[in-house]
C-alpha cells in the first residue's frame, strides 16, 4: 500500500469539503477520482502532496503520515500535472522537464539522458523539441511536456488533476492512450482526477466516485457499471448510455469470425471496443465489418448480430 487515507476531513469555513474519507491505494493502480464539480475530488488529490492541508484524520505515504515528511522532500517524490499545465515560460522544454531532477541534485549527464528518454516516451523528438520554449508548442504538446516533467524524477506516485480537460477530443484521446501505455509499461501508481466518465472508464483500474465530499462507490469500471451502489451512481454514469458504456469496456476480438465469401467492404482495427465497432456500423449503414491488424492483414469479420448478443462475456 502506497497511500492510505484514514478518516480524513477537510473543511472550509465550517463546511466539510471532504469528510469520513477512507481509502487505500495500492502500488501500480491507476485510481481515478471521479465526481461532479464541487465533489471534492481535486481536494483529495491536493491533500496528498499537501498543496491543501487536511484538518483531521491521517494520510499515510509509504506508512508514514505525510505531515511528518519534509514538505519539499514529499513533493519531490510525487509527480504533479494539472489542467493548465503550468510550464515555466522562461525555460526551455528540456529545462522544464529537468526541474525536479535538478532539485534532487542529479548530475548534468543523467538529467540530459532522462530528458531525452522522456521526450521519446511521450512521442516528441528530442532533437526537435528539447530547445523550444513552451509558447512554441501546441496545447497538446505542452501537456505532453507537463506529463514528462511530472515523470522526470521517477516519482513513486503521479498526481494528475484533470490534465487533459482543456484539450480537443482528438488530442485528449491520443494522450489518454499514451498515459495508459506509460502506466502499463512502468507500473507507476497514478491518482487521476476527472469529471469525464468516458475518460474514467477508459483509464481506471479502479474508480472512486465522489459526491459532496464523500465516497459514493469504489470499484473497477465493470463493478460501477454492473453493480451500481445507488441511484446517484446510475445517474452519474448516464442511465441512457449504460449499455453503450459497458460495450466500450469490451474488445471486439472475441467476436471476430472467419470470412465466408467476399469480405465486407469497410474495415476496422482489431483493437477497438464493441462500442466503436457498433458506432462505425451505424454511421456506414452496414451490418458487418472486416477486421484487420495494425499491419493490414485481414483477421476476419464482425457482424452486428454477434456483437449485440451477450454470450461471449
Amino acid at each position: 500500500m502506497i497511500i492510505k487515507f484514514e478518516n480524513t476531513r477537510k473543511s472550509y469555513g465550517g463546511d466539510a469539503a471532504i469528510a469520513d474519507f477512507n481509502l487505500e491505494i495500492q502500488k501500480g493502480e491507476l485510481l481515478v477520482l471521479l465526481g461532479p464539480s464541487g465533489s471534492g475530488k481535486s481536494t483529495v488529490l491536493k491533500m496528498v502532496n499537501r498543496m491543501v492541508n487536511h484538518d483531521e484524520g491521517q494520510i499515510f505515504f509509504h506508512d508514514q503520515e505525510i505531515n511528518r515528511y519534509n514538505l519539499q522532500d514529499l513533493r519531490r517524490r510525487m509527480g504533479y500535472a494539472i489542467q493548465s499545465v503550468g510550464l515555466f515560460p522562461h525555460r526551455t522544454v528540456a529545462q522544464n522537464i529537468a526541474t525536479v531532477p535538478k532539485l534532487l541534485g542529479w548530475d548534468t549527464q543523467s538529467v540530459q539522458a532522462r530528458v531525452n528518454e522522456l521526450l521519446t516516451l511521450l512521442a516528441m523528438d528530442p532533437k526537435q523539441y528539447a530547445a523550444r520554449y513552451p509558447h512554441q508548442l501546441s496545447g497538446g504538446q505542452q501537456q505532453r511536456i507537463g506529463v514528462a516533467r511530472a515523470l522526470a524524477a521517477d516519482p513513486d506516485v503521479l498526481l494528475m488533476d484533470e490534465p487533459f480537460g482543456a484539450l480537443d477530443p482528438v488530442t485528449r484521446s491520443s494522450l489518454q492512450v499514451t498515459l495508459k501505455q506509460i502506466q502499463q509499461s512502468t507500473g507507476k501508481t497514478i491518482l487521476f482526477v476527472t469529471h469525464d466518465i468516458d475518460e474514467a472508464l477508459l483509464l481506471a483500474t479502479r474508480i472512486v466516485l465522489l459526491n459532496q465530499g464523500r465516497i459514493v462507490q469504489v470499484g473497477t469500471p465493470h463493478q460501477l457499471l454492473q453493480q451500481p451502489a445507488n441511484d446517484f451512481v446510475v445517474n452519474f454514469l448516464g442511465r441512457a448510455d449504460l449499455g453503450l458504456q459497458q460495450l466500450s469496456l469490451r474488445s471486439i476480438e472475441p467476436y471476430v469470425k472467419a470470412i465466408e465469401g467476399t469480405p465486407p467492404q469497410h474495415v476496422i482495427a482489431h483493437s477497438v471496443s464493441l462500442r466503436e465497432a457498433i458506432s462505425r456500423m451505424a454511421t456506414l449503414h452496414v451490418s458487418a465489418l472486416s477486421v484487420v491488424k495494425e499491419d493490414g492483414t485481414l483477421l476476419g469479420q464482425v457482424r452486428a448480430a454477434d456483437l449485440l448478443e451477450n454470450n461471449h462475456v
Binding site: 498543496m51 514538505l71 493548465s84 503550468g86 522562461h90 513552451p134 509558447h135
Partner: protein, 261 residues
Amino acid sequence: MSELRAYSSLAPRHGSTQLVWSVGALLLLAYGLPYSQPLFAALFPDLARPVYVQEPMAALMWQHIGLVCLSSSIAVIIATLAGLATTHNTGQAFKPMMEIMAGMGQTFPPVAVLAVAVPAVGFGELPALIALSIFGMLPVLQATLAGLASVPSPVLDSARAMGMTPRQILTEVQMPLALPLWLAGVRTSVVVNIGTAAIASTVGAKTLGLPIIIGLSGFNTAYVLQGAMMVGLLAVTADLAFDKLAIGLHGPATSGVDNQA
C-alpha cells in the same frame, strides 16, 4: 498580462542606429557648444551672449548624469527590495500600503518633493538627491508589484508542487518572470528622474537645468534652448538604451508568458 503584452510589443520599436545617433548628438552638443558662437549668434541676433559659457556644458551633463545614476540606484535598490518583500509572509501585510504609495507616485508632482526636501536639509545637492531618490522609487515599486502579480498562478502552483522552496520559487520563477515589467518601471523611473534633475537646479544642484533657469530669469532664450536640448537628448538616449537592454534580456521570456494564460 495585458500590461506585459503591451510592453513587449513596444519593446522592439527602435534599432541600435537611433541610439548611436542620439549619443552622437548629445556629445556633439555638449562638447561642441563653445564653438557654436556663430550659429547661435545668427539664430538669436538680439542677444549679446547667445552661448551659455558660465560653466562647461559637458561638465554639467556629467554632473546631471551622476546625480541621476546615484538617485536612481538608491531608488531601484530600495523599491525592488520592498516589492520583493511582499512575497514573503511577513512582508505581505505591507503590500496594500505599498500599492497606495506606488499609486501616489502617479499624481504627486516632483517639484513638491523638492520643495519639501529644502526646508529639511537646506540647499545644494542633498535635497536634490533625496527628492530624486524618493520620487524614483514609486514607478519601480509599482513595476515590481505588477511584475510579481503577472506570474501566472498555475506556474506558481507547479513550482510549489514540484517541491521548490519559497526562496527557489522567488529567484528561479518569480524574479525572472517579473523582470520585463520591472525593467519597464526602472526605465520610467530613470527617464522621469532625468527631467526632474533639471528642476533640481532651482534648489542649488548643478545640473543641466542651470542654463534653463539662468536663461529664464535673464530673458536669454538661447540659454533655455541649449539647456532644454541637452536634457531632452539625454532623456531620449537613456530611453533608447533601455530599449536595447529590454530586447537583449528577454526576447523569449516575454512572449512565453503570454501563451501561458
